[in-house]
Symmetry: C2
Subunit: 447 residues, 2 copies
Amino acid sequence: MGESKASELSSLFLQDDLQENSTRLASGHPADIAAALQEIKPAPAWSILKEATRLRQADIFGYLDAGFQLRLAAVIPRADLAAIFVEMDADDRTDLYKHLSDQQREALMPALAHAEREDIRQLAAYEEGTAGAIMTSDYASLSPQLNATQAIEVLRREAPNKETIYRAYVLDTGRQLVGSVRLQDLITAPASVRVADLMERNTHAIRVNDDVEDAARKIARYDVIALPVIDAQERLVGIITHDDALDVMEAEATEDFQRIGTVTNLDSSVATATVPMLYRARIAWLMLLVFGNIFSGAGIAHFEDTIAAHLALMFFLPILIASGGNAGSQSATLMVRALATGDIRISDWGRVLGRELVVAILLGLSMAAAIAVIGVFRGGRDIAIVIALSMIVIVTVGSMIGMLLPFILSRFRMDPATASTPLVTSIADATGVLIYFSIAKALLSLP
Amino acid sequence: MGESKASELSSLFLQDDLQENSTRLASGHPADIAAALQEIKPAPAWSILKEATRLRQADIFGYLDAGFQLRLAAVIPRADLAAIFVEMDADDRTDLYKHLSDQQREALMPALAHAEREDIRQLAAYEEGTAGAIMTSDYASLSPQLNATQAIEVLRREAPNKETIYRAYVLDTGRQLVGSVRLQDLITAPASVRVADLMERNTHAIRVNDDVEDAARKIARYDVIALPVIDAQERLVGIITHDDALDVMEAEATEDFQRIGTVTNLDSSVATATVPMLYRARIAWLMLLVFGNIFSGAGIAHFEDTIAAHLALMFFLPILIASGGNAGSQSATLMVRALATGDIRISDWGRVLGRELVVAILLGLSMAAAIAVIGVFRGGRDIAIVIALSMIVIVTVGSMIGMLLPFILSRFRMDPATASTPLVTSIADATGVLIYFSIAKALLSLP
């Protein structure tokens, strides 16, 4: 559903009577209802939402943006909020908990059962960006001694509270993960076969402190519905589901895009970001790059006499320095994405370097040939030689900078995506100015 | 598993005896085994793979890259290949079929049952990029008249051949989609309740000719394991599973990254791409941008007298034109990604334009203030005024170009991601040269 459909639904909500809204609340997908409620102010949104069942309220609440959740939570009576909170999925609930103020937390916690309080405290303790921070404790587990019928019975009882029962995790008495079994296999197996004989032993798992992106990548690689999360003692502590993995991948790709475009910390969606948010996200890099480009300016100033003696050189300056930046930004973008998807690892830099050098020289030669033709017409043979030679060197150096920068940044534990196109361009520009005028000065015997 | 682990496994495969390799083939995850086999040449890879069971061979085959599948298919005896082909998932099989030569297809088809041949022909007929092209026909369907026990019995019988039985689609006698039911709900329901009373009626579906990215976005939005695909008569023709949606999203993000970095048609992974493949993917854009930058050069040449009269202007040229390009590339990247994720739609351009203008002017003012200080020191008050004024105009115009270009490209049915940073930079550069020297000429009364 696009935004216009959300607006449509929200105006229906505001116009119609309770009866019709109740039907709408009960039948629509929670994601659609959440999108519609977000178009309304929190107080009227709550007066609509309160007509739904608790479970439904909790489902819809889980689909709201973090910001709107907080504004809505502020207008919901404490008892209602606690009841919604209890019904929410463990991972959504923990996310909300993390965003609440200390005061709001204290108001909520007494309304919860001891086990739930402990669950929230434990889940909330994991650092952002780790598997622990996005996992849910709503997994189904089985003992290896059960037979297929008993196992199905256990799952049937637990089903309403679990995120997925399609794969159940088999735990020994110490809660250590020994395998996993698919509901599909339990159903098709003879009733008396034991879980231990049905389960897959080599269940892929991830450590609770591992990077959340590694978890998402494993889910993508092995096409699983969920990935179990284990602690240092190999005990099962949670699962990460395929839909959360998809969200992580999406968010990560968006973050990399923004890095590549030198936009920082834009937490909000672009559609709803305010002017101050956009200004803050953009100004730092722009300022930094201004000062980066002073080097190019200083380079030009340094060669002022060379330029004055041969103003025709200026005609080719934009073409030459832009080509270095463009070739570099191609290399950087390829490497940033390959590093992000795990296609290439940091230790591969040597293997990639040789190939990149060959490609860069070939690109430089082709572009030099093209530009030399224009050079002959505009400045004669000598100028043509200078710009052709400069083009080869500039494109090669630019490509090398673009290729290596993401690896160097990774090496110093910075995000490789910081090797944004504008950063690569700035460095390649300054280098290009020096290369061009140095070659010109040497070959044209200029001052 | 990273590449080093794949190489490790592949050398074990090559060293060890048949016995140990059989165990390895039977116990490892097909994705890992496929990665290891790809490190080996097709002939020895087949001599290893042929020790696995047919079903396992088919699973592993499905995880191989398209290129390696073809090379391997060329060395597998026809009868074996046909047997593997029969066991493959419908969607993987169709992908392979599309890549085969006419000769190979003719050799394979007689080995298949009539129903399978028809299935492949139908699936292969859908255009690339549509939901039909990635859907699978291995879905589970139920009649609404069945009760829960009967329904589970049907699913149990069909399970081995279906991609997922966790959600079964409820079809009326005309095969029209009337709802869907979760295995979870069938299991927890009393035995005599009918499917018609258990199913969700508002099942989200997608049309067979709809864009595959829309399908992926729906799966992400509604957190479903699979999305049903219907034809014009609302008949169910296939499903798209969550893992395929994830692959689509990943591939789409990679493609957008490459567009943003002006790399075209790099079908292979960056890790395995050859020098000619990389050269071809990069040269066209680089050449195009060379000629784009001729406009900047021509702009400078046009103002040669102005420059000669005031060479100090050259110092600020790189800073000013780069700032326009950088601000523009920020805007373009934000818009490209927002359009790709569906966060912003094409019709929203007017709504975003006003906000962008305000942000751009604020950014321009801040950067003008910073650069004016340097201007006073390097060139005096008049120069400072010229460059401050130029900065405001250039950053504002650059941002507008960057913001609008993706919308304009979309309007003309081109991929908005073609509004790459280098393209925006080239346009902003040429515009920046004109703005800067025009302002300088006017205010400094230069020739």
